[in-house]
Assembly symmetry: C2
Homo-oligomer: 356 residues x 2
């Protein structure tokens, strides 16, 4: 059994929740949201001490190949997997499993979203190593985050029995984003973790699970695998991938699979789902606001103020989001940050595509 860990960084996301900083060709993973590095670069740097670039696979949309190459010059060219179209996480992971199995059938895959926030990276890496070891034995493994608040924006994992003598527990159930009252119960019970979207398994094991739960996807992967080294691999990938049903690994596999093990991540974590989430991950001022870039705030409280170039001046604001980026400004109450896509939709309908 190999002890090798392959990181599979899922960088295929396309989203509008960080408009106006996120425009057509710069989804969240390519934004310098939390530092001078993009979230994708931070993800790669975070695992570098335990996984060298030769064993990092990045999966992204074909349209973003050039961006990824520029952001990650140390990534070997053959480690960049390009999706002809986005089909959610199950196809992305299946494709990566084909590649990892070819490289080292005994390796384990650490599947990591490219666009999350993590701090206490040492703790994070220890969990990744522990989860990968557990997965090397043939298990499906995930990492859950000890919840800090009754968050309604995350999925949860219900904890089950202990896994032998390991620190791991079995996942009793994957549960969807709860109502606020339910989230309060989850938090109080101590039996629930946030679903971090990180998964660990051998390529053989996840391909077996795809066979079991998503047989049509598995058949397509079989055809892609057969064509892998041939002259028609591009055409086959295009055809098979495009025809696949989009489905997440959570919904397509994890919610149906038996005996998934979970390790508890105690590191600060966020999926950074909206502008409002910056308040969970950036240091807050005395007035409970967070700011990035050149910001002047007077008599404010609880705001998220972002100047991606230029200046944002906020006077007397409460619980607001203000983002200045390029030629556009977004202002909304923090509680409505998840509705930013409505702004994007309105711009599209108004024919103002130049701002998208």
């Amino acid at each position: 059994m190999s002890e090798q860990i392959y990181a599979v960084i899922m960088a295929g996301g396309s989203g509008t929740r960080f408009w106006p900083m996120s425009r057509g060709d710069t989804p969240k993973q390519f934004l310098r949201l939390l530092s001078s590095e993009t979230l994708l670069q931070q993800t790669m740097v975070r695992i570098a001490p335990i996984i060298p670039p030769e064993r990092v696979i990045v999966v992204t949309a074909r349209a973003h190949a050039e961006q990824v190459r520029e952001l990650l010059p140390g990534l070997p060219p053959d480690n960049l997997l390009l999706e002809p179209v986005g089909r959610n996480t199950a196809p992305c992971i299946g494709l990566a499993a084909l590649l990892v199995r070819r490289r080292d059938a005994g390796a384990t895959m650490a599947v990591l979203p490219a666009d999350h926030f993590v701090s206490d990276e040492e703790e994070f890496r220890q969990v990744v190593v522990s989860a990968s070891r557990l997965a090397a034995g043939g298990r499906l493994v995930t990492v859950g985050i000890r919840p800090l608040r009754p968050e309604t924006g995350y999925g949860y994992l219900r904890l089950g029995e202990h896994v032998g003598e390991e620190a791991a527990r079995f996942v009793d159930a994957f549960v969807e984003k709860p109502s606020f009252d339910t989230a309060v119960e989850y938090l109080a019970s101590g039996h629930f973790l946030w679903n971090s979207g990180m998964f660990f398994f051998t390529p053989e094991r996840i391909l077996d699970e795809l066979e079991l739960h998503l047989p049509r996807h598995a058949a397509a992967f079989g055809r892609i695998d057969q064509a892998w080294d041939g002259p028609e691999v591009g055409q086959v990938l295009e055809r098979e991938y495009t025809a696949m049903e989009p489905i997440s690994i959570d919904y397509g596999v994890m919610e149906k699979a038996a005996e998934i093990a979970v390790l508890v991540g105690r590191f600060p974590w966020s999926d950074v789902g909206t502008w409002a989430a910056l308040r969970e991950v950036l240091p807050r001022g005395e007035n409970d606001s967070v700011s990035m870039g050149q910001v002047v705030e007077l008599d404010g409280r609880g705001n998220v103020l972002v100047a991606d170039g230029g200046l944002v001046a906020a006077l007397g604001l409460r619980d607001m989001v203000v983002v200045r980026s390029g030629d556009a400004v977004l202002v909304c109450p923090r509680q409505r940050a998840q509705e930013v896509r409505r702004v994007v939709e309105a711009l599209r309908q108004a024919g103002l595509d130049g701002y998208l």
Copy 2:
């Protein structure tokens, strides 16, 4: 007695209440706040049908001479009076009176702020002509605006007896900006008008009033007048003007003078004192918001949204001001728009003068 009317446009203001559109060298009168023309240009255009450019005098700060010449190419060069420093309205008007007296001692002066909003220009011009006729007889005349709401941002005029058979009344008192409760009483009483800051008199009459109420200023004007055609006029003006106490015509003369006549202006008017005032002068949408430039508003109400270039997107805002101009954005509740100068002060203290 000449029937000539000279317009004296007071364009010397410097202010920060329209930051970030108004920067160091573009005070309000030079902003395209309400249309594609600046407020100064609108003022000149508004009186053009009754007062030709040869009889328009513009008084501005020396630093703004070039701007005025560019904005008003039709203004004869000798009709631009440059103040070495700003000394409020009494010195500005005294200086203009010296010039008008030299041109036509029997003319009347219609003193008009350069940065106010007026619509129904026909009605406005009729009032200017009526007020000037009344002033030609030697009276001090002003125009008051019939109040539309209990505005606390304006000074008021209390109406006294009728002036003979004229439509005019005497001003019983000039009163300072009232509290809200007092403003409600003023509105209900029907005896009060908004002080529009427009004044009408012959040059001789206003110079007599300056002599009476501001003798030191009058003495300085005497010295400036003596030097007017000589080689040292520049030096004398510089010395005398700089040494003058800054004082408004309202406080220095009008509040002390006897038998001021007032005509009622029934045209829509605003001094456009803050960003919030745009809601009083621009057409409101169904949701009671006003916007300028490229604005997308969703689920909003009562906002003032200004995109001076680029785009402003507002989601779920109530009674807010958002202004995008150049490299800066301002966001504040409408009720606090009068505090924008605090932002400017904070920028100065933070050494961020590049944004001022």
